[in-house]
Subunit: 472 residues, 2 copies
């Protein structure tokens, strides 16, 4: 830790007090390691501002001192996006104390909420007035709104509602020099140049620190239908998706689940998929709407009957109660953990290709990797409707750290090459962070990388905002 | 014209031929003046590339030579955004020859189309396969897709579908150095940093030249309802809007029309509003959907009956045929011209405030301007549902050029001050261009202006892309 840090910390403690400036190692320790325990770092201090003005004071001072900050929300990044490095030169900037709902407007279905608000807490508050944010994911109990926006998070409702960024109508962010951009005013039209605030969405804290956002909400659904369907192949699943979308605009989730993943859930957690027959692939479908309760169940039931008749589906069952719907989803949410326990760690790839290309891509990657690396085993589940599968590669035996770092890493690069050849993305919804930075550098189009670097240089010339992440 | 221009033009003619490099003054002349005749400039040449590669060659060479380019589509900018300056140093870069539809996918309702495609032509092509782009405006016969995206154009369907930018799924653009960014691949999720391509949307050609876009389309409507409604005030109109939106999600247009504008249409074009009574304000409502023909008419009819019962509306009439619907809209589309002929030129303000603030803003601006400038007369019509009114200020006598440049300009600054005080925008849908650049410099938040300047410096350090527009 350099003298610059000492001075910065002393200056900020003087200005903002000990609640904001934390140096007790015991208080900082839990935030030095990402939640999956893959990255650990050191930090000279942890700053916990409670207001936009305090964030502004911190950034202006850090910029002046040249001390790098790591913005952090719930610390639930999947790619090491919120973990400081090993140097001890970085300071954690926690937004967790900024968690107020500044406004809710039930008429326009909008709210303004601060960055540190936890997703699940926000949903509870919104439900009180009949609203919800149409975004859901496993980390809902820890992920913060600021983090979700900074990483443009996805989840299980993207099919209909889009990713987190698409819910953002405007935002307030502090730039590297402490100045503030504010697009929270609820304007439907504002044509004063491009929407520069969008640089913060998926920006992984590189271009500014989000302190609040205005969100577009939807009504709390009054009706819901959840179905479990057996299909012959990903190709059949895709046809089923198109058929469902044609017949019903309320389909929010469409998760493709392979046999081996479901076998793990049964073996480890005794969670049994609700269909009796033997299906190579199964699909979990969710529809939500504002219709009278039961309407969607009837509609989805008749759609699925038609699908079976047309040979698009092999068998289907509808959840008959809220509890049963939750049980269906519980299987989906336990898959990651079940696979890890049953089959061992995998090299996991959060990737996307154009939706229509997914079935062919899945087959090609499986055939090629399993041929080139005997014993390697490719599987995957996830958001077929978004062209986003979480692809897992394992050796037949449980994967050792050594395998993951050698053959596994080599396979990863091959998978990424195939993704690029299909016009896809090496990160669908988890971001780049530390984990994929080098692969992004290797495979990103030169013009895209150059543009990102130029924008970074323009907005954060001293590299104080989350250096070492995203931008190669 | 400097020697740099000579060399550039000779070099490009050598490389790209005479079809691309036009120097005949007669061919260039029509493109030196904006369509309303407010700005005229000079140009050393007009370049008409036919492919992305040619655009790339042109930008690389112009960047090398330091020769500024003015990208141009249909030349229908409302703010002088596509007109060269008087220096003769600029070269027009026309995208009009790039007008292919590269792909249409009826299943996902998407198309990839080049920048020079004219809006009306695209709509005709799309209608052949049952699709449409949900965007419409007066300049449909000349405005190009590239121009519409570069200016993030609005129009009469924004209420439901958003502005042009919201239809853009991805794009291809050439940067100042000739390199190309390409996000045309139809990925639903791509989390490799922020969407840098969004810098081109509403970017007014400052950050790159759009050559093609992937657009989200909707189905050609099978059902349509158009209504004309008398209301007591803008406040009542806003309540009516909320009531309609609550009852029907197919409302695409909601245009507020004052008595004096309608009087002009009747006086000049003999276009009579379809209601008999005397209403201070009237509203034109449009709903479109995929329902069986007649369904929306019935639905909107019953909604309006309810609205009259509740005192939200005074009277209403539904168009009984497609021809009648077109006649309703014809009145709306003739208002601008009718006012000009009947009342003389106005100082027109394309402004927005939060939707809910519009009635109070309209009253306040009218009261204040008419009090401070006896004889000045404030009126306005337009997209109430978007918080976007085209506000017109005139003296009681026909406005002279002198009035417009003196008292009119002073009033304009006062109106803009009031807009800022209401958290609004001095440009709702027309952009900044040349016309509003100085007011943007005066009123833009310092952090926003600084960020725009930094981004411009990063992406176009030699200022070859449309200099003198947007960025102060």
């Amino acid at each position: 830790m350099s003298r610059g840090h000492d001075r910065l910390i002393a200056e900020l403690r003087e200005k903002l007090g000990a609640t904001v400036v934390v140096t007790d190692p015991d208080l900082i320790a839990p935030w030095l390691t990402d939640w999956r325990g893959r990255w650990t770092g050191k930090a000279a201090a942890m700053l916990q501002p409670g207001t936009r003005e305090e964030v502004s004071t911190i950034l202006a001072a850090a910029n002046e001192a040249g001390v790098p900050l790591v913005p952090q929300g719930g610390n639930s990044s999947m790619v090491g996006g919120a973990t400081p490095d090993q140097s001890g030169d970085m300071v954690i900037l926690s937004l967790r104390r900024m968690k107020e709902i500044r406004a809710i407007d039930p008429e326009t279905r909008q709210c303004v909420v601060e960055a540190g608000m936890i997703l699940a807490t926000l949903q509870d508050e919104l439900a009180e007035v009949g609203l919800r944010l149409p975004l859901d994911l496993g980390a809902r109990g820890s992920a913060t709104i600021g983090g979700l926006v900074s990483t443009n998070a996805g989840g299980t409702e993207v099919l209909r509602h889009g990713t987190m960024g698409e819910q953002v109508l405007g935002l307030e962010a502090v730039l590297a020099d402490g100045s503030v951009i504010d697009t929270l005013s609820p304007l439907k039209k504002d044509n004063r140049g491009p929407r520069i605030d969008r640089m913060m969405i998926g920006g992984e804290g590189q271009f500014g620190v989000i302190t609040a956002v205005r969100l577009q909400l939807t009504a709390l659904p009054s009706d819901r239908a959840t179905a479990w369907v057996g299909v012959a192949s990903p190709q059949a699943a895709l046809k089923l998706l198109r058929f469902c979308e044609q017949e019903c605009d309320a389909v929010e989730g469409f998760e493709l689940l392979p046999k081996d993943s479901l076998a793990a859930a049964e073996a480890v957690f005794d969670l049994r998929a609700p269909l009796d027959g033997d299906h190579d692939w199964q699909v979990l479908i969710e529809a939500k709407g504002e219709s009278e309760a039961g309407t969607l169940n009837e509609k989805l039931g008749s759609i699925l009957a038609g699908a079976i008749e047309q040979g698009l589906a092999q068998d289907a069952v509808l959840a008959q109660s809220e509890a049963q719907a939750e049980a269906f989803w519980s299987i989906r949410h336990h898959l990651s953990d079940a696979e890890k326990r049953h089959y061992g760690m995998a090299n996991s790839h959060d990737i996307s290709v154009p939706v229509d290309a997914m079935p062919a891509f899945l087959k090609e990657v499986r055939d090629r990797i399993e041929a080139d690396y005997p014993g390697a085993w490719v599987s995957g589940y996830g958001h077929l409707g978004d062209g986003n599968i979480h692809l897992h590669v394992r050796p037949m035996d449980r994967a050792s750290d050594d395998w993951r770092a050698t053959e596994g890493a080599e396979i990863e690069r091959k998978v990424h090459d195939m993704i690029v050849a299909h016009g896809g993305s090496i990160s669908a919804e988890h971001g780049i962070g530390q984990m994929k930075r080098d692969e992004f550098a290797r495979l990103g189009e030169p013009a895209r990388l150059a543009m990102l670097r130029a924008l970074k240089q323009a907005l954060d010339p001293k590299r104080i905002l989350n250096p070492g992440k995203l931008i190669p």
